[in-house]
Amino acid sequence: MKDPYSVLGVSPNASDEEIKKAYRELARKYHPDSYQNNPLSELAQEKMKEINEAYDAIMKAREGGSSSGSRYGSSGGGGHGSSGSQTGPFAEIRAAINSGNIYLAENMLKNMANRNAEWHFLMGSVCYRRGWLDDAMRHYQTAVSMEPGNLEYRQALQFMQRGGNFYRPARYQGASNMDACNCCSTLIAADCCCECMGGDLITCC
């Protein structure tokens, strides 16, 4: 196993606070949200696992450090094709997308005559995974217009309209197009997510 301190990029003399800070920064960087439906999402999950293990190892070695308190969950990352119909041809296609078999999913979709909202949603996911972002957005738009009440489709479209949901290192944040208000609301949303998973990002709320 790699030296846990070098995994977190801190010196072995670093204080608990510094280690927590470095851990949080890395956990945000490799958070599944940044790798939704990305062909490299498995590599991001590996990184996340490595960071979690390094953090746990350091905290365990330093008595008194609570290791589970502020740890991030590393589940997720599967992306869009995770819920929805459980049976039928679409379920098979969802399974193919989730396992990364894009060509199979695309072929199955192309052979279907019934092109309903779910068809467009899944075609959008296939396009997204290939990096065809404009086509992905078009299919999501069609899915939403055919079935405006579906939350999954709406979320996928909103994700595209935001240009994704990505981490930015501190050094490059000032020049981003994210304003202060947007930044706070994102943080609060992230906090809610963490709390759902049993963690906490903003400790006071």
Binding site: L40, A44, G163, Y172, A175
Partner: protein, 292 residues
Amino acid sequence: MYGYIRPLKGELKIKEYEQFSAVYCGLCHTLRKRYGFLCRFFVNYDFTFLAMLLADEDYKPSLSYRRCSASPFRKKCVCETSRVSEIAADYSIILAYWKLMDSLEDEGILKKAYIWPLSVMVRGKYKKAVSRHREFASQVQGKLKELQEYEQSEEQSIDGAADKFALILEAAAQVITNEKRRLIIGKLLYHIGRIIYILDAVDDIQEDFAAGRYNPIIKRYNLTSGVMDDELKEHLKITLHHSANIAAADFELLDGTAYTDIISNILYLGIPNTIELVFSGKWRTVKERLPR
């Protein structure tokens, strides 16, 4: 190639800027040494980016100070020719040749008059580069043929057209021996290729419309003039920023690179800045000014 992939200079540290210049000058010297004096004019930022991306953690360039025809009096710090700069130089020649061939088909008689002798001159260099990278060269040729067929087909998707060009850049990663690095850099380069292709279409839209040439955006939106409305601009900007975001997220997965800070600058700041400049129409006045 196009020069869209460059850092935001004002946000580089001086140390980083010097490193970047040394890679750029190193690529130029490599081109001259390998392909002759005239080929050094094919040096550009996109391939400087490629050279930096191919350099892994263990890459330690040896530096020297040299004069050149662009800087005849003051010696400049240059990265000595290395495997990384050689690959970037060879790929520059291969793509420059095909770009010339493409212009030869598209342009009017006046431009053809000077592109033709240039393409004859480059053909020999191109063959030399091909002999060094047969696999890559045949992929470039294959994808460009597919692109040409796609342009003439009924298909309207912007991504479908951009895909062919993006796959050429993805193929540039095949020289990397480490499997994980090859995968990550390949996916990253796919999005860089997508950005370059679509930005070029945005940049050329008025000329393409006037000349009646193929342009993926005109075709996709059935534009009746060479001007895009604000809504369309906004839509395209978002999709390009999204690609830049994915490229940056992919880059974060690499374990060690020699130029992490400069590449991060390019991905997080440089490309977004270029996108804004191209859409605001300021790119053409800015792009020639940047070098040193």
